[in-house]
């Protein structure tokens, strides 16, 4: 997979795995990573799917309606890539923190739904419920930050609440930050995620 790896200056810090939103790329969230944890190693991944030329992590048929077989296939593909990257760059795979925005938050959510202990913690910015009616592995001890927008044109409030409930039901400690900036990633939300990550 197309990606960027940047070795950090402090090996005790979490390793951030970045998943961009639709139309982004592996470099998109690097500034966010610098804000969240500047000493961390960072792995930015580019989604393997193109929608009208815009990279995504999995296919959809319409806003909010996912191609589930493709989502599941891509989820496993990324898990395999993460294992390979850990070997290639020699990072500690038990210290990964997912940072995903929108489509990237959804693939990160799907990884959580499929693999136990894949991330140490997760920052999901404007996520949806990636899959329904699946058994989620135990997320006990897993801390999750959700960034949501009260006026998000893409995501219904009830969907964010449904995701919270599902993650909490699996044992995760969920912190949700509600902003007013629609579907956009706001500076305020990024700052809230930074403060949260320091404690996670």
């Amino acid at each position: 997979m197309i990606h960027v790896f940047r070795k950090g200056t402090d090996e005790t810090k979490p390793i951030l795995v970045l998943f961009h939103g639709t139309g982004g790329n592996e470099n998109d969230l690097l500034p966010l990573a610098d804000l969240l944890s500047p000493e961390s190693s960072v792995l930015g991944i580019r989604g393997n799917v193109l929608e009208n030329g815009m990279p995504r992590f999995f296919r959809r048929l319409a806003e909010g309606v996912f191609d589930e077989p493709d989502l599941i296939f891509r989820t496993h593909e990324i898990k395999q890539f993460l294992d390979e990257a850990a070997a290639q760059y020699g990072f500690d795979a038990t210290k990964l923190v997912a940072v995903g925005y929108s489509n990237g938050a959804n693939i990160a959510g799907s990884l959580l739904f499929h693999y136990k202990d894949i991330f140490h913690a997760s920052i999901l910015l404007h996520p949806m419920v990636p899959l329904r009616n699946v058994e989620i592995p135990s997320l006990k001890g897993h801390a999750i930050f959700i960034g949501a927008g009260k006026n998000d044109p893409i995501i219904a409030t009830a969907e964010t609440q449904e995701l919270e409930t599902l993650l909490q039901g699996a044992g995760a400690e969920v912190t949700t930050h509600w902003g007013n900036q629609g579907h956009r990633l706001s500076a305020e939300e990024a700052e809230a995620a930074r403060v949260w990550l320091q404690r996670a």
């Binding site: 909010g64 077989p69 006026n151």
Partner: protein, 316 residues
């Protein structure tokens, strides 16, 4: 600033098999397939538009037939029921016709009107109501005479996770008039003579799940691009953040999700479906936007063909 939408522009839903979809909406309901194109995000999936003769705003239902899609669950944050208007005196005809095709029908009453209520082959809830308003259809197909033919949408029933907020959006953002309340519904009217009666279920409905057999979004009418621009500003002033304008070939669209969870679109009346086909040849050919045209052969090979046909009535 005051704007009023004249009513529904179109309603879009996910269904399963394309042939069964066409059989139901053309073969049984007698609507015209006014456009056969593809899902621009997934070119192996059709996008089918059914409406009156020219596919006028307020008559158009559109489908993504997705045979491998997971079945959705009708619930809050969706259009729960799509209502079609037929001429006064037509419900008996329709009751018999639906019985002929073995479609189970119930008669229901809401705010002093009678409805024939049934589901399509994928579970979408449909109802028919007699209305004086609305131009008569000139399209007759599969044994539906023009005097009983569907005129277009009577309206829709909205299922909200937060009806107070949805009511506020219908009244104060979209400019509809609240005209009645009863039987657990709040009734709104807009200025058009078709697709103009919206019933909001007054109690919160637990959130549904998108997928086949559910409506994806409802689109409201804007007169033109200039008015759509005003709508964008108005919607923002009510605290929503609409998407940028998207070119849908036959209309331009902006989207926002109202606080009850329903995805609202504001779509322009022009340019319409005769944009790229002659009015008497609508829906006959697979239409592709220019950027997909170089891949036509591969796209056509990936789509399972279907026909617009009369359905044989099984005897006995």
């Amino acid at each position: 600033m005051t704007l009023q939408t004249s009513g529904i522009h179109h309603i879009t839903a996910f269904v399963g098999d394309a042939q069964r979809n066409a059989d139901f909406y053309a073969g049984i309901l007698g609507l015209r397939l006014v456009k056969k194109t593809i899902n621009f995000d997934a070119p192996e999936v059709y996008h089918l538009y059914f409406g009156n003769e020219q596919g006028a705003p307020g008559t158009i239902i559109t489908f993504f037939p997705w045979s491998t899609g997971r079945k959705g669950r009708i619930g809050g944050g969706q259009v729960g029921v799509t209502t079609y208007a037929v001429p006064v005196g037509s419900l008996d005809f329709w009751e018999q016709r639906l019985a002929t095709y073995r479609i189970p029908v119930t008669e229901v009453s809401r705010i002093s009107e009678s409805y024939l209520s049934f589901a399509d082959y994928d579970g979408l809830r449909i109802e028919l109501v007699e209305r004086e308003e609305g131009a008569p259809s000139t399209w007759s197909f599969a044994g539906v005479p023009v005097e009983h033919a569907i005129k277009g949408f009577g309206g829709a029933v909205l299922y909200s996770t937060d009806p107070l907020k949805t009511a506020d959006t219908l009244g104060h953002t979209l400019g509809m008039e609240r005209i009645a309340e009863g039987d657990g519904y709040i009734r709104y009217r807009s200025t058009g003579d078709i697709g103009n009666i919206i019933d909001l279920k007054a109690t919160p409905v637990p959130q549904g799940a998108g997928g086949t057999g559910t409506v994806h979004h409802i689109a409201w009418r804007a007169i033109d691009d200039a008015e759509q621009l005003e709508w964008g500003i108005l919607v923002q002033s009510h605290g929503y953040q609409p998407t940028p304008v998207q070119d849908r070939q036959y209309f331009n669209a902006i989207y926002f999700r109202e606080e009850g969870g329903i995805l609202f679109e504001i779509a322009t009346d022009p340019p319409g479906f005769a944009n790229d086909e002659e009015p008497d040849a609508l829906g006959l050919k697979l239409m592709l936007p220019a950027w997909f045209e170089p891949h036509r052969a591969a796209i056509e090979e990936n789509l399972s063909p279907f026909q617009i046909r009369e359905i044989e009535v099984k005897q006995g």
